[in-house]
């Protein structure tokens, strides 16, 4: 059990973004969270990655309580993430963006950095080698020196993934890694996510709307709706769940739902 989430509740004023959500993720698992817009998927990731502090509950990572730890300590603990809306450092090169991911692994400080040749150089170059491996892995060699802000959407998403990998995390949280991509880019990205999971052995929690991809590559899927957990399980089990069909997948308009809507209209 790598991540154990217990009874997490989070509210913003009167809006209950998350209500008593519990789930757990095993080591080396590819775990997906799905649900309609506003279901609380990103809020859940924000709780794990430390941007939000939940009102109640506990989140344990490798047996250690995460709540109460600083956001900036997450990489040391072993958690990395990407963002739904691009969050690259736009004015830096791709290389520097990924090097920022090595921040918590580098030891040089501003003094040794200023005296580059007598301090930071050796370490910087070692980590540069590591970053180049990640660049090779994600096939972004050709944009290595480009400014991140000038890239296309699909490439930026890939750079963001590279940056998250550079953290060397045990658990990586991917917030809609394939949103807004064309078929080809999606295929590439899905391949990278699977490789990440199977070759690099990282545990992945992914939010994604493309059901084809989610059901194909996930080990387990959790469904959220209105901040509450609907169910979790193997992709096939989740697909078969009635509530999921209604809440999210847009089941055929059977009598049940029709009756519900009519009740609401009336």
């Amino acid at each position: 059990m790598l991540l154990q989430v217990d009874n997490i509740s989070l509210s913003f004023g009167g809006i209950k973004a998350l209500q008593n959500v519990s789930f757990s993720v095993d080591e080396a698992e590819l775990f997906s969270i799905i649900g309609p817009n506003g279901a609380g998927k990103t809020s859940m990731l924000n709780c794990i990655s430390g941007r939000y502090t939940p009102d109640e509950g506990s989140i344990k990572f490798a047996g250690e309580e995460l709540l109460g730890r600083k956001t900036s300590e997450r990489p040391e603990i072993g958690i990395g993430r990407t963002f739904q809306n691009l969050a690259l450092f736009d004015h830096m090169t791709v290389l520097d963006n990924i090097m920022v991911g090595r921040h918590h692994l580098l030891k040089n400080n501003f003094l040794t950095g200023m005296a580059y040749w007598f301090g930071a150089q050796k370490e910087e170059l070692e980590h540069r080698r590591h970053v180049e491996d990640i660049i090779d892995f994600l096939e972004i060699q050709h944009i290595r020196n480009a400014q991140a802000g000038t890239l296309s959407y699909g490439l930026r998403k890939r750079v963001e993934l590279a940056r998250a990998i550079a953290l060397g995390p045990k658990l990586v949280l991917l917030d809609e890694p394939m949103a807004g991509m064309n078929m080809e880019e999606k295929e590439d990205m899905a391949r990278f996510v699977v490789d990440l999971n199977q070759e690099l052995g990282m545990t992945v929690i992914m939010i994604e709307h493309d059901m084809g991809v989610v059901m194909d590559i996930s080990d387990r899927v959790m469904v959220l709706d209105f901040g509450a957990k609907v169910c979790d399980g193997l992709p096939d089990e989740v697909m078969a769940n009635d509530h999921v069909q209604k809440a999210y997948l847009g089941a055929e308009f059977d009598d049940d739902i029709e009756a519900d809507t009519q009740k609401e209209v009336a």
């Binding site: 990655s49 956001t71 997450r74 040391e76 690259l88 450092f89 520097d96 918590h104 005296a115 580059y116």
Partner: protein, 356 residues
Amino acid sequence: MASTALRPCGDFRTTYKTDQYLFQTKMIGWTAAAALLVLILAPVLASSYVVNLLILVGISGISALGLNVLVGMTGQISLGHAAFYGFGAFSSAYLANNYGVPVLIAIPVAGVMTAIVGMIFGLPAARIKGLYLAIATLASQFILVDFFARATWFTNGYGVDASKPEFFGIPLDTDEKYFYVVLAWAVISMIAVANLKRSRDGRALVAVRDHYLSAEIMGINLTKYRILAFGISSFFAGVAGALYAHYIEFVSVETFSISLSINFLAMIIIGGLGSVPGAFLGAMFIELLPQLVQLISGFLITIAPTVFGLIENGKAYIEQITVGTVIILFLIFEPEGIAHRVGQTRKSIKLYPFSY
């Protein structure tokens, strides 16, 4: 990609080390070396007027470079830079006068003292940013200047004398000799900041500017780096202030007004935000432009007294208006600064006659 396209043919980087060099191409390296050589020879070749200007540009450049770490790299606007500059000036003079610290040692020590004061005044940056922070730094400007006026033990209340330094018994009492002190500090500062930009903490500062939320997720402690930026920036302001004090030989309380703070901001905006040579180019622009305008207006009056003689009375105003206009025009046509323009010019020469 744009940056690699400008590399000369056959210049392949085969190690990561060569790819991280300070100077992108050999040509830039040689140009820098040539410029340094010219500057080393300047006191011998140039008139004392030019040397005086070079010293002032150097001192302002060091200070602007510090501000560029804070504003250009970290994205925190400071309106109190002149106060830190002043603190460095008074500290160095105080150390040299009261404790007999050799001036050349007092200068960096004053830098460190200013860095500490800068970090204290930078504490609000832990909680606020953007324009709100700019107003908070305005407070440091007024508080420190008020402190200078009242702390008679530190400043006499109006100003203190500062002595010229000695270098192993050789008094550096002339402009020509003092020039080398400033040049050494300017070169050290440029190299230090350029190195900072290609190492861990420099990247962290830029990351905090570009996207602080994701910087935090990447393990960067925002508070630490925001305050560190104030520390580094104030260090250079302090050193520059100290250099100024021992050059002018008298530190007056009135020098460090908010208009000087704004001048420093203008230098980095005109020179190029976040650029190392930009800080010095901007300093050159702001320091030399009024001189140039004076020269031209004087020249016009002498060659055509009938036409331009009429402006004799309003000469001072016209000069100020001209300086202001040139700055505005410059910002309209080159908002990214002189450093950017130099890069563009380099590209167009390199790619001539094809623009792609």
